[in-house]
């Protein structure tokens, strides 16, 4: 464990910016978001969390896959892989965990997504522990914690005027080279321990037995009602650090164009609409069920992990306060009926 004075941060980031793209929480309007910074003044590390998660650094809401130019007798394709070195500073442990979950999606035994994976391999993650988890945070229910180091290269623990830096990987260590940080002394370590102890979560969800309920309740009448107030927007999915669905479209003019992928959401009817007009998930009921099932059952079936990190963004951002904690509690509280089409 090392010790970083807060007044050294500017210096450090300036140094990092010389060789890498540095993404950090900056204030935009009333809220925070991860942006590539051009000056250290923009960075605010004393923040709760961002509205849109840092997944967008690795999986942008819109990105070019390749561009093309149609010529007389052929088509020229140009792959658009972003190979720049990146650092994300100050991401929360829940968001770091979400990237481990996304890794499952973008790298299967058969296919690798070079856009995500190239960025992922070139990105160093500097986490910031949560001294004061929000009332909507429930990471501990999902195996995380406010100071979890899972998936991080460095973890910063704010102890007042200084950060205790936990070096977790060689890549993390390399970021500190030349800084000559002193080892965290007894006092700092004790302060870090106190901070960690003081970071308690008030919110929990009960996941025990949830999966076995979802295994059998696809046709349960609970789905008829549980989605009712859902408006069918994508505020929850687009601000979810583990949601990864996307659309692929062409944007072209004249004989040039690009193939682009954009975030997409299971909450939209168009997401699954067949060319024939048939829609396997025709109403809000099926779409909302898909969202819950995908996170808490299908993802578990396929990757042995729940696709939720308990960041609470969907709770904060839902325009009608459809709270996933309540949804899960309702499913848990419902009488289990055996499946029957």
């Amino acid at each position: 464990m090392l010790l970083l004075n807060k007044d050294q941060v500017t210096n450090w980031l300036n140094k990092l910016m010389q060789t890498c793209q540095v993404f950090a929480p900056v204030k935009e309007g009333d809220y925070f978001c991860f942006k590539q910074i051009s000056s250290c003044d923009q960075v605010i590390l004393n923040y709760n969390n961002t509205r849109v998660p840092p997944k967008e650094v690795l999986f942008p809401r819109s990105e070019k896959l390749f561009c093309y130019r149609c010529e007389n007798d052929g088509v020229q394709l140009t792959e658009q892989i972003d190979e720049s070195k990146k650092i994300i500073i100050g991401l929360r442990p829940c968001d770091a965990k979400s990237l481990l979950l996304l890794d499952n999606v973008f790298s299967s035994d058969k296919y690798q997504d070079p856009y995500y994976l190239t960025r992922r391999n070139n990105t160093v993650l500097v986490g910031l522990g949560c001294n004061q988890p929000a009332g909507t945070c429930f990471c501990t229910s999902l195996g995380g914690s406010p100071f979890s180091t899972e998936g991080l290269d460095l973890l910063l623990v704010d102890i007042g005027d200084q950060y205790v830096v936990e070096v977790l990987t060689e890549r993390g260590r390399a970021l500190l080279s030349g800084m000559e940080l002193p080892a965290a002394d007894q006092e700092a370590q004790e302060a870090a321990r106190m901070v960690k102890e003081g970071a308690s979560l008030s919110s929990q969800v009960n996941l025990e037995g949830l999966k076995s309920r979802l295994d059998v309740n696809f046709y349960d009448p609970i789905w008829d009602l549980i989605h009712e107030k859902c408006l069918g927007c994508a505020a929850c999915t687009y601000t979810c650090p583990t949601c990864h669905c996307f659309d692929i479209v062409d944007e072209a003019a004249g004989n040039e164009g690009c193939r682009i992928r954009n975030w997409d959401a299971c909450m939209f009817p168009l997401f699954t609409l067949h060319g024939s007009g048939h829609n396997p998930r025709p109403t809000g009921k099926e779409r909302f069920r898909q969202r819950v099932m995908h996170k808490f059952k299908y993802f578990v079936d396929n990757f042995n992990a729940i696709a939720c990190v308990g960041c609470g963004r969907c709770i904060i951002n839902c325009p009608v306060n459809l709270d996933i904690r309540e949804v899960l509690a309702e499913i848990q509280g419902s009488e289990v009926r055996s499946d029957n089409q």
Binding site: G29, R61, S62, K229, C233, V249, P319, N321
Partner: protein
């Protein structure tokens, strides 16, 4: 508030008990401070879940279109005005809807609270005697309620429902006419500055379409933003021009239909200022056509009615 809550519960319970309706759409306690949440009540004994508060910010008219069953809705002023427009657009069958009118004291804007608390988390809130007491870890702060109301509530001319079957509570006093003062700074801008402002705001758009989904009047079978043949706008939210184009067309499509409830603005997860556009449209419609949306079942919406010579004279 407590009396209104009680009156809503009793009314809903009775309507369900007497089988006058199958469903009551109202608000329940939310899961966050200063937050109520839409709720759907079908059993008389569940009517106890209904409440009235300062977080009943959603426009419940959104849930009323093309419903098969006979139902009741708890409607504040803006909800009732959207209902009026939706009836005129044949989206709501008046015969099958019981409107439980509730006078609205204005809803609290949690964005304003966030701004005021500057990073401190709100854990609890209480509204009494015109004051909102905000509480969190190590602080408790009282703020005059007026300071925290939504802008759309501050200028609302119809806090009392314009259309109802049952009216609960006492009507609240109506404020003086909307001077559209909040638009002054936008209107004073040169076209390029206006554009720059919209571009800046809409650069945060992630195309989640929460604005559209929350709006009771945005009910097109296929939204122009979703069309693929032809594709009117880029599907990429990084195309800020097209984010602006989307909101501009949305606002235009709401001309004479938007009741300035502010639902779109509240729904936005990246808190884009959408109301400047919609409010400006409300103002323009008032000035050009002398029309206020949602106040009369008889008056035709200006863009759905033949232009009269007096209207034409405006141009």
């Amino acid at each position: 508030m407590r009396e209104l809550t009680k009156a809503i519960q009793e009314t809903a319970q009775k309507l369900l008990q007497d089988k006058e309706v199958e469903l009551v759409v109202g608000f329940a306690e939310g899961s966050l401070p200063l937050r109520n949440t839409p709720c759907f009540i079908r059993q008389p004994e569940e009517a106890q879940r209904l409440v009235w508060g300062y977080g009943c910010e959603n426009n419940l008219a959104t849930y009323l279109r093309k419903r098969p069953e006979k139902l009741a809705v708890v409607a504040k002023g803006c909800d009732s005005r959207s209902i009026v427009e939706l009836i005129k657009e044949n989206q709501i069958n008046r015969e099958k809807l019981v409107i439980i009118g509730v006078p609205c004291q204005g809803m609290i804007d949690r964005k304003k609270v966030t701004r005021l608390l500057a990073g401190r988390e709100l854990l609890e809130a209480e509204v009494k005697d015109g004051q909102v007491v905000l509480k969190g870890k190590g602080y408790s702060e009282a703020v005059p309620r007026e300071q925290l109301l939504h802008d759309s509530c501050l200028t609302c001319q119809h806090p009392n429902p314009v259309l109802f079957d049952i009216m609960l509570g006492e009507p609240v006093p109506v404020k003086e006419a909307d001077s559209f003062g909040d638009l002054a700074s936008f209107e004073a801008k040169a076209p390029a500055e206006k554009r720059a402002y919209l571009i800046q705001e809409l650069s945060r758009c992630i195309r989640c379409y929460a604005c559209r989904q929350a709006c009771p009047m945005c009910f097109c079978e296929e939204c122009f933003a979703d069309c693929s043949m032809p594709q009117w706008l880029s599907k990429s939210s990084l195309n800020v021009q097209d984010n602006v184009f989307f909101q501009a067309v949305r606002a235009l499509h709401l001309a004479g239909r938007c009741v300035d409830c502010g639902a779109c603005d509240r729904a936005c997860p990246t808190s884009i200022d959408l109301r400047t556009l919609t409010h400006k449209m409300v103002k323009d419609v008032q000035e050009l056509f002398g029309y206020t949306a949602g106040v009369s079942l008889e008056e035709k919406p200006p863009l759905a009615a033949p232009l009269s010579s007096s209207t034409l004279n405006h141009f």
